[in-house]
């Protein structure tokens, strides 16, 4: 569905991603794990069109992505960015409606709003609250729901567990499973390696811009290298 081939991304002189090649299959959950500065966010923002690659290609359903970032969503790729980036002075409902900005089907949008409130019931109580006044966990729910409102084919989640209480992290991972069960492909970047690998069909480890190892989530969980570096398992 999404093929990344020999992708190189640079910030000026700094080479942030080296020859990344990854395939994300339809309906899968693919996890990208790695430490701070490994290039996870760079990869995600490049896929969302906010950075342009130095070389290599990104194909989505066999076609190259458009150059303009605002056209990416129309293709069915939606990024839920790191640190959420909600519109703080819009209400929860308005934030969700912004997610459906490109859609014209009013009935469908109304139905999807209800679906989102079912997915994250706490949001129903916060509908009229300004997004900036919500807790971190609630904001993350709104950010994911805002992304889903665009009816994406693939959802790119950048650090959805960042800064959340452990109980919220559980809720978040469960929600991601539910979303995937409804047919949305998920590409998940996480520092929280154990849980990400546990739920992922496939995964790869990024280290300083290189793909270190790739495999199924289970394989990586059992990989001694990964265990030592990211899961804190001592041998």
């Amino acid at each position: 569905m999404l093929s990344i081939r020999n992708l190189n991304v640079k910030y000026g002189e700094i080479h942030a991603l080296h020859d990344i090649s990854v395939e994300v299959g339809q309906g899968r959950v693919v996890a990208v794990v790695g430490a701070n500065g490994a290039g996870k966010t760079t990869l995600m923002t490049t896929l969302a069109g906010l950075l342009s690659p130095a070389s290599g290609e990104i194909l989505f359903e066999g076609k190259a992505l458009p150059k303009e970032a605002y056209k990416i969503l129309g293709c069915g790729i939606c990024l839920v960015p790191e640190r959420r980036r909600l519109y703080a002075n819009l209400t929860v409902r308005e934030n969700l409606l912004m997610g459906a900005y490109l859609r014209k089907d009013k009935a469908g949008i109304a139905a999807d709003l209800e679906r989102m409130y079912d997915l994250f019931p706490i949001m129903r109580e916060r509908v009229k609250q300004y997004a900036g006044t919500l807790s971190g966990g609630e904001q993350q729910m709104v950010a994911i729901a805002r992304g889903l409102m665009s009816r994406p084919k693939i959802l790119l989640l950048d650090e959805p567990s960042l800064g959340l209480a452990p109980i919220m992290v559980q809720t978040m991972f469960k929600a991601i499973k539910d979303i995937n069960a409804e047919g949305v492909t998920v590409l998940l970047a996480e520092q929280n390696a154990f849980q990400a690998l546990d739920m992922a069909d496939e995964a790869f480890v990024l280290e300083t811009g290189h793909v270190l190892v790739a495999g199924t989530g289970k394989e990586l969980l059992d990989n001694p290298l990964v265990q030592k570096a990211y899961l804190g398992v001592k041998h």
């Binding site: 605002y70 990024l79 519109y87 819009l90 912004m98």
Partner: protein, 290 residues
């Protein structure tokens, strides 16, 4: 109604029209314009020249003023917004645009340079101003409550996140700028036919600053806030006219006080509404008891 009072109200409402226009641009897409007096001046001169030299119908001249300013807004906005100038650089570009327009008006034959245009017919009356202000506020209100308005707010709040949601930032900002310029143009046309005399030195950066100050003090992202602020800013110096030169000090003080006690502006991001008034009175009541 005394003529003095209706005079202040007329001038205040003309400023309201221009300020609401600017509110749609600065308040809703987050870019500062420090040259909006130029759109006002272009509108004033377009309308005045049309009625004065060519005997065009006043209302047509007003529409032409809006169109001319809107077109200039497009010409200025296209390169600056396409280049994605950051807010501060964009503000400097508009400052330059404002000054350039004034210098141009001082040197063109048709504008009669610094002498200005005297003897413009007095077509602008309070009912006309009221009607135009009502229409402009109505359009602005509908815009802010539409899908496009929400997109404009999203651009102000976080333009990266807006882009990710499929908003074309360039078009969104350009659309707002053209509307805002057209409002300035209409206000200028009304102004010219209200004072019956215009000259380039009326449209300095001081005027641009007044518009921007009204938007910021009224609340970025509100329509009713800037409307109130524009009326207050016009009437306060008038009421304080007895204090002579000190009135400008009081005006400055008022701005400083707003920035200290209401940094988000009079209305912040909200609009005045029945619920808002009730809430406000409720809080006042509680404050009184405590």
């Amino acid at each position: 109604m005394s003529q003095y009072f209706s005079g202040i109200l007329s001038l205040g409402l003309i400023y309201v029209i221009a300020t609401v226009g600017l509110a749609i641009f600065t308040g809703f897409t987050g870019l500062f314009s420090l040259g909006h007096a130029a759109f006002f001046a272009i509108g004033a001169y377009t309308a005045a020249i049309l009625t004065y030299f060519y005997g065009v119908n006043f209302y047509l001249a007003l529409l032409a003023a809006a169109a001319a300013s809107g077109l200039v807004g497009l010409l200025i906005g296209y390169p600056t917004l396409k280049a994605k100038l950051r807010t501060d650089y964009f503000a400097i570009a508009t400052l330059g645009f404002g000054e350039a327009t004034r210098v141009l008006l001082e040197n063109l034959p048709i504008t009669q340079g610094a002498r200005g245009l005297p003897g413009i017919a007095n077509y602008t009356s309070l009912p006309v101003i009221l009607a135009v202000a009502a229409v402009v506020i109505w359009i602005a209100w509908n815009f802010t409550h539409s899908r496009h308005g929400r997109a404009a707010i999203a651009i102000r709040e976080d333009f990266v996140a807006a882009e990710m949601m499929g908003v074309n930032i360039f078009l969104g900002r350009l659309r707002s700028l053209i509307f805002s310029a057209a409002c300035g143009g209409i206000a200028g046309g009304l102004f010219a036919h209200y004072f019956c005399f215009i000259q380039p030195s009326m449209f300095t950066s001081y005027m641009s600053t007044q518009f921007t100050a009204a938007v910021v003090a009224g609340g970025m992202g509100s329509i009713s806030g800037p409307v109130m602020a524009a009326l207050i800013f016009i009437s306060v110096p008038e009421i304080l006219r007895i204090a002579n030169i000190w009135r400008l000090v009081a005006y400055g003080l008022l701005l400083v006080l707003i920035m200290i006690f209401r940094p988000q502006g009079l209305m912040g991001y909200r609009e005045i509404s029945f619920a808002f008034v009730k809430n406000f009175l409720g809080r006042l009541g509680k404050g009184g008891k405590a």
